[in-house]
Symmetry: C2
Subunit: 402 residues, 2 copies
């Protein structure tokens, strides 16, 4: 198993890697994405698995008859955020193939069909919406809405799929396919340091925190930076800056997360007081009441400071994902199969979170020593990755042989 | 005179105006710029002035023999910042032609040649450097440095000039031309509210404040906004936000100006903690010691907060213009010709500031009721503009008839 594991990483490593940043740029329906998908197909076919692409472009590799029902499915995604790390996504797919190799090595007698899946466009780096492949399959994104998605160059999602050789007319909900799945297990590198503070290489997810994105528009007045007296200004950059600091404070007091990571300024000139600053707030918390309260407090702070600055504040909720509680029965069974590993929540969305509305779903996390993710510095120790493969094999065997 | 004044504004008003913003986009060597320049040439030729373009693309309209020396020159510029107002620049050029009309109406006997000039690329909106036409003429910008200037599309300044029909091989210092000038007077809309608080429609400039641009690079660590604990973050947006507020406070305490109006963020994703925030500081003060101290204090505040955030701060001075004291003799003569008008400093750079190193130079400001400039909302009352024309005519007559 170990050798195959290393070979899989060796083949994946160069695909879509930017030499300057050292990070990955594997965006949906681009050349790098096509190379990742070709890699998946090769891994499936060299193992004698039955390969197929569903109507939404997700890739499947089957062992056993899909129509038999009750399938145990594992997998993740291969696309990346801009300059993302090597593990977010690919660790789950590589570990799925490696776990299958291990099950075969063990001579495990599977009573149920088993499949490995690569969901398309999980990160949403190109079209701005995450988990497009799983959302379409689960009917949480309609083909009409999907057709409106455009990338930074104005290319629509259907155009991008068509150029990549897929049929965009086919996309849409896929309930028959999901009905064949008895359990879905996604292995993922942890995107935090909870496991790093324990002796455990692997943990099980309890829930995904509710999270959302809010756009804060700060409207002031453009003016000359060299001649306008401070007292005559309506400078939205001041209100934005104060709101960034307020968001951090409110989140800290509530045990939540709040981040301004994206900004757009007009006219964005060195010698011009801004007329408009747009800042996007990403916020998450353990429950929806806390999240609502944190965002309301940040908005209050923004409006209050805006009144002092002569700046108007408008807040638009651009997306919201409710809390995902993973199926308790499956979670408890997985935890039992692994024997007392930590059970932990996460703030990150995943395909597993989308599917959990339709299918019993569980997630395994592999320890991340620095907690860094969505960055070229994202890493995981080889021993921990191998422990993840063994854990995933144990879980698949336990579920498929019962 | 009044009728011609209105006709000039009527002809200029539609050129380069953006219908959505209502602001002007007259960038150097674009179609809108060419239309402005054609307007200038027509105004010169219909008045029987001798029209010429200098080696740097600045336009001149002469009454009398340039070679006679000691010329009295007036003028300004016709280009604009992005979505700029109608008056910044054009008010000076329109008023120059109108003042000449008034002098002719008065039957003034001019003892010296008189010229009207339109300096190219004053705002620097396209190539990022202000006062390119006057800097080249005065030898403050070498042809080699000018050749390195590029616009956002990668077009170099020489390429842009060539495409607009000018010869970029000719650009460079023009000491013979400047030696013909006995005095240069630039009329400009005030970019502040100093005159608005007086009964005076027109004022005289004492000095241009020293000013500079500093780029603050805040380096943190990219990470996942949904999973990274607050205490594990190195978020440069926090340091940037704190620095924006510190800049305002330090400037206020020192009676100076400090503005962050331009920001660039990497990776600038909604769910990504930024790895790098770049903010550009524009700062100005009445004297260089104060300016140095304000910028040093802002940098200290940034570094101090950065240490708390795990963020490194690097500050680069991108440009600096020392204080410009306009020639005292000329300033006093102009003030005397106008009879007790306010004498005031300004924070804005002008072609007059560049020329002042080589030529006795003065500036007139016309009252701006709101103080707003570099914005579509920039305005000036018609009566004040007409008072500006009369004042300019008085000054030109006084200087050219002595």
């Amino acid at each position: 198993m170990t050798s195959s594991f290393h070979e899989m990483w060796r083949d994946l490593r160069p695909i879509g890697r930017n030499a300057d940043s050292g990070g990955y740029r594997r965006y949906a329906w681009t050349g790098a994405d096509a190379d990742c998908r070709a890699w998946f197909r090769t891994e499936a076919e060299t193992r004698g698995l039955s390969y197929e692409v569903d109507r939404n472009g997700n890739q499947w590799a089957w062992l056993g008859d899909p129509a038999a029902g009750g399938a145990v499915v594992t997998g993740s995604h291969l696309d990346s955020v801009p300059d993302g790390g090597a593990f977010d996504g690919p660790l789950g797919v590589v570990s799925s193939f490696a776990a299958l190799d291990e099950l075969r090595g063990r001579g495990a007698a599977l009573a149920k069909p088993l499949a490995i899946v690569n969901f398309g466009d999980e990160e949403g780096a190109r079209f701005g919406l995450a988990c497009v492949g799983s959302r379409l399959a689960a009917g949480q994104l309609t083909p009409e809405k999907a057709a409106q998605l455009r990338d930074a160059d104005g290319v629509s999602l259907p155009q991008a799929m068509e150029r990549a050789g897929y049929d965009p007319a086919a996309i849409g909900a896929d309930p028959e396919r999901l009905a064949r799945i008895g359990a879905f297990v996604e292995l993922h590198v942890e995107q935090g340091r909870a496991l790093a503070e324990t002796p455990h290489a692997v943990g099980v997810a309890s829930a995904i925190w509710p999270h959302g994105r809010w756009r804060f528009d700060f409207h002031g007045e453009a003016n000359h930076a060299g001649t306008t007296r401070l007292e005559d200004r309506r400078d939205p950059m001041l209100t934005y800056a104060n709101t960034v600091l307020a968001a951090r404070k409110k989140a800290r007091l509530a045990g939540a997360l709040a981040t301004f990571g994206k900004v757009a300024v007009e006219p964005n000139g060195v010698n011009a007081i801004a007329s408009l600053v747009r800042g996007w707030l990403d916020s998450r918390a353990a429950d929806e009441a806390t999240l609502d309260e944190v965002v309301a407090e940040i908005e209050r702070a923004a409006v209050e400071r805006g009144a002092r600055d002569g700046v108007t504040v408008r807040v638009t909720r651009e997306s919201f994902t409710p809390v995902v509680e993973f199926a308790h029965d499956l979670r408890d069974e997985v935890a039992k199969l692994l024997g007392g590993v930590p059970v932990l929540p996460t703030g990150a969305g995943h395909d597993a979170g989308i599917l959990s509305a339709a299918v019993p779903t569980a997630m395994l996390f592999v320890r991340n020593p620095t907690g860094i993710s969505h960055s070229p510095a994202e890493t995981a120790a080889e021993d921990d990755c191998l422990a993840g493969v063994t854990a995933l094999a144990d879980v698949l065997e336990g579920l498929a042989c019962r």
